[in-house]
C-alpha cells in the first residue's frame, strides 16, 4: 500500500495488514481482501492513442491517416460508512481520423487493397460507471454496478450485480455475477444507401470466478464467462465488395452471438527482488467460429522506496468469423458477409512500459504501449492478410491522490 507520510505509513500498514488478515481475493478484484476500501482516492489519466497510417501499397482509396483518440479518465473511490464503498469512473474521449470502409481485390500478384472512409470522422464519447459494494461480513460481499455511455451515434446503458463468498479454511473466494447492457445505434448520414436509420442490441453476461491463495506469495484466479449478444450486431459504416456486382453491399452479421470466455490469472511475489509477476491467460470461443488465445505477462519491479518499473508483453491470436472474407465473388447462401479486419484471422503483439513514482500524498505514472497486428503473428497459417489490420501507440500520464 502506498504511504502518505510518517504518520500515514503506520496507518496504511495497519490497514493493509487488517485487510489482508480479513480475507483473500474477492469481489473488489484485488489480491487484498473482501473488505471495504480503506481510504478515499482520486485518480486521473490522460492518454493519447495514435494509429499508424495505412501503408500506401495497401490503400486503394480514401485517407491514409487512421484514428487518433485523446482520453481523459477520472476515478473516485471512497469508503461509505463501515461496511460499504463506492467507485465512480468517468471517461471522455475525442476521436478523429479515417476508418476502414471496404476491401477490393488487388491487381494480379498483389493482395487485396483497403478503401478507407474519405472524410475525417470527428466524434466524442462520454462514459460513466459507478459501483456500490457492501460487505455483510468478512466473508460475504455484494456489488451493484450501473453505467451509461454516449457517443454521437451510440448510447449504452449497463447494469450488473456481483456476489462473493469466502471460504477461509480453504483460502478460497467464489464470485459470481450477472450483467446486462442495452445499446442504441443511430448512424450518422442515414440517407446513404444501405445505411440503417437506427437499431438496438443487447448483451447479457454471466460469470463465475474462483480465487485461490496457494501460499504467502501466490494467488490464482480462474473465471468462466458466458455472454449472449442479441440484435443488430453488424457495423453500419462498413461495406463488403461483391465481385459479381462490381459494387458493395452492406456489412451483414447474424443477429445473435454466444461467447464463452475462460480466464486464468496468477500473481506471484518474489521478496528477494521485491517484484511481482503477473501471468494472465484468456481463451475465447464463440458461435461465429472465432476462437482466440491471449497471454499477458507483466513484471512489477520496485526500485528503491518510491519507484516502480513495469515492463509487460501481450500476445493475441484469433481465428476468423465463418462469414468473413476480404471480399466476395458472390453472395453467401445465408446472406451474411463482413470484411471487417476485426473478424479476420491475425495475431497481435504489444509491449508496454510503465514507470511510477510515489511522492507520499500522491503518485504519478507514465505508460507507453506499442501494438502491432499481422497475419504472420497468428497461431494458424493465414492465406490472405486483411489490409486494414491496425498498429497503434498509446502514451498515458496518470496521477493518483490519496484523500
Amino acid at each position: 500500500m502506498k504511504q502518505k507520510n510518517a504518520r500515514g505509513q503506520g496507518a496504511s500498514a495497519f490497514m493493509a495488514l487488517s485487510a489482508a488478515a480479513l480475507a483473500i481475493p474477492g469481489i473488489v478484484s484485488t489480491a487484498q481482501a473482501a473488505a471495504p476500501i480503506a481510504e478515499a482516492e482520486l485518480g486521473y489519466k490522460a492518454s493519447a492513442y495514435r494509429e499508424a497510417d495505412i501503408e500506401r501499397s495497401k490503400l486503394a482509396a480514401g485517407s491514409a491517416s487512421r484514428y487518433e483518440i485523446d482520453t481523459h479518465q477520472l476515478r473516485f473511490i471512497s469508503p461509505l460508512g463501515r461496511a460499504s464503498d463506492l467507485a465512480v469512473d468517468f471517461s471522455y474521449e475525442t476521436m478523429s481520423g479515417a476508418s476502414p470502409w471496404f476491401i477490393m481485390p488487388g491487381t494480379s500478384g498483389n493482395g487485396p487493397v483497403q478503401v478507407m472512409s474519405g472524410a475525417s470522422i470527428e466524434e466524442e464519447r462520454k462514459d460513466i460507471q459507478a459501483s456500490l459494494g457492501h460487505y455483510f461480513s468478512s466473508q460475504h460481499a455484494a456489488k451493484v454496478l450501473l453505467g451509461y455511455s454516449t457517443e454521437n451515434d451510440y448510447q449504452a446503458v449497463n447494469m450488473g450485480v456481483e456476489g462473493s463468498i469466502e471460504i477461509p479454511a480453504r483460502e478460497l473466494t467464489l464470485t459470481a455475477g450477472l450483467g446486462f447492457s442495452d445499446d442504441e445505434i443511430e448512424p450518422t448520414d442515414p440517407e446513404m444507401p444501405d445505411r440503417i436509420d437506427s437499431a438496438s442490441r443487447s448483451s447479457t453476461t454471466a460469470f463465475v470466478a474462483v480465487a485461490q491463495v496457494l501460499n504467502a506469495n501466490t494467488v490464482v484466479q480462474g473465471s468462466l464467462s458466458m455472454v449472449t449478444n442479441d440484435g443488430y450486431l453488424s457495423d453500419p459504416y462498413k461495406k463488403v465488395w461483391r465481385a459479381d456486382l462490381s459494387n458493395t453491399v452492406a456489412d451483414a452479421r447474424p443477429n445473435e452471438r454466444q461467447q464463452l470466455v475462460l480466464n486464468v490469472r496468477m500473481r506471484h511475489y518474489l521478496p528477494a527482488v521485491r517484484a511481482a509477476l503477473h501471468v494472465d491467460y484468456r481463451f475465447f470461443d464463440d458461435d461465429w467460429d472465432i476462437s482466440s488465445h491471449t497471454v499477458d505477462l507483466a513484471w512489477y519491479q520496485n526500485l528503491g522506496d518510491n519507484w516502480q518499473l513495469t515492463p509487460s508483453l501481450r500476445y493475441y491470436s484469433q481465428s476468423q468469423a465463418y462469414f468473413y472474407g476480404p471480399f466476395f465473388y458472390n453472395a453467401r447462401s445465408d446472406g451474411y458477409a463482413s470484411s471487417d479486419y476485426r473478424l479476420s484471422p491475425y495475431g497481435a503483439l504489444s509491449f508496454r512500459l510503465r514507470l511510477e513514482r510515489n511522492w507520499g500524498e500522491f503518485s504519478t505514472n507514465v505508460e507507453w504501449e506499442s501494438y502491432r497486428a499481422a497475419a504472420s503473428l497468428a497461431l494458424d497459417d493465414v492465406g490472405v492478410e486483411n489490409p486494414g489490420l491496425v498498429e497503434f501507440d498509446i502514451l498515458s500520464l496518470g496521477l493518483k491522490l490519496h484523500l
Binding site: T30, A156, E162, G179, S203, Y300
Partner: protein
C-alpha cells in the same frame, strides 16, 4: 459444459492441498502490485481499446457496456 466441469473440478482439487495462512503471512498478498489490476484506470482503458480493435472480449466482471467504436 465439459469445460466448466473441468474448470471447477481443477480449482476445487487445488484447494484441498492449501493450508490456511496466518494473518502475518499475508503481507505480500496485500501489496498493491499484487492486485489483479494495480492501475484500474490503465486496465479499463486498455480493455476498452482491445474490445474496440479485436473480436474477443470478456473477463470476470458484470460491468461495462458496448460502444460504436470504429
Amino acid at each position: 459444459m465439459k469445460l466448466l466441469f473441468l474448470f471447477v473440478t481443477a480449482l476445487l482439487l487445488s484447494a484441498c492441498a492449501v493450508e490456511p495462512l496466518q494473518a502475518w503471512d499475508r503481507g505480500y498478498l496485500a501489496r498493491p502490485e499484487m492486485a489483479w489490476d494495480p492501475d484500474s484506470l490503465s486496465a479499463s482503458q486498455r480493455n476498452h481499446v482491445y474490445f474496440s480493435k479485436e473480436a474477443s472480449s470478456g473477463a470476470a466482471s458484470a460491468g461495462g457496456g458496448g460502444c460504436g467504436c470504429n
